[in-house]
Symmetry: C2
Subunit: 111 residues, 2 copies
DNA sequence: CGTTCATATGATTTATTATTCATATGATAA
DNA sequence: TTATCATATGAATAATAAATCATATGAACG
């Protein structure tokens, strides 16, 4: 750490957002960083779905899906409505589609 | 799983990308889903930096930063060049900025 | 009511991953 | 060549989190 970069450090340090914001940001991306959740979000970007439909679509058990839906709901990425015994989930806003779309572009645009 | 949603399932199933692609997508987001890596990427979006500068900026030891840079390099999110004993890292393309920007927007646009 | 269906939840197990420590590599300069 | 500086790497530890199992909740309907 001898070699000098204090000028650069000061510059970057002032531009870097607060730790808490960066932590929130990584927490957000973490939600997209699991294949089960990405599949759920992708499915919901097509259509509102109930829990057991998602479970059947992904070939996973109901409990696992419920846990992940809870995570996504706590983060306000999805919302739900009840209709009798069934609970339907949907994306809570369009940012989810945009973020996934950007990731997709990154993957597919690479040669 | 008695209640019927096979029509919906068939529709969504055809639109859902292949498992491998969705897995790649979550792997991509996973890289942004760690606060150390997000900080590194953010810093590099300001300026090319050497390893020890990043370590000093984040208040972490050199080894931890090196390990994370390796992860980011393996995923082609960052690239490096050598100048004498020093190795400078930079973002490998603009998608990184775009993806982080989208996440940022999502966070800040919420009331 | 009690039963059934759809979903949620808590606890446990299992798997994954970030950081640390010690050491290796690789370039430079004396 | 030896010493030093900057970085990389392997192994081990520690922390986090996903899936599973068993069970709880809560609505509808006989």
């Amino acid at each position: 750490m001898i070699h000098n970069h204090s000028d650069l450090l000061n510059k970057v340090k002032t531009d870097l957002p607060a730790d808490e914001l960066l932590s929130d940001l990584s927490d957000l991306f973490k939600l997209f960083g699991d294949s089960t959740r990405i599949k759920i979000l992708f499915a919901l970007s097509e259509s509102e779905m109930c829990v057991c439909a998602i479970a059947e679509l992904l070939g996973m058990n109901q409990s696992a899906i419920s846990h992940q839906l809870r995570t996504l709901k706590d983060a306000n990425l999805v919302a739900s409505r009840r209709e009798g015994k069934t609970i339907y989930y949907h994306l809570s806003d369009d940012h989810v589609r945009t973020i996934i779309g950007q990731g997709f572009e990154h993957l597919t645009e690479k040669h």
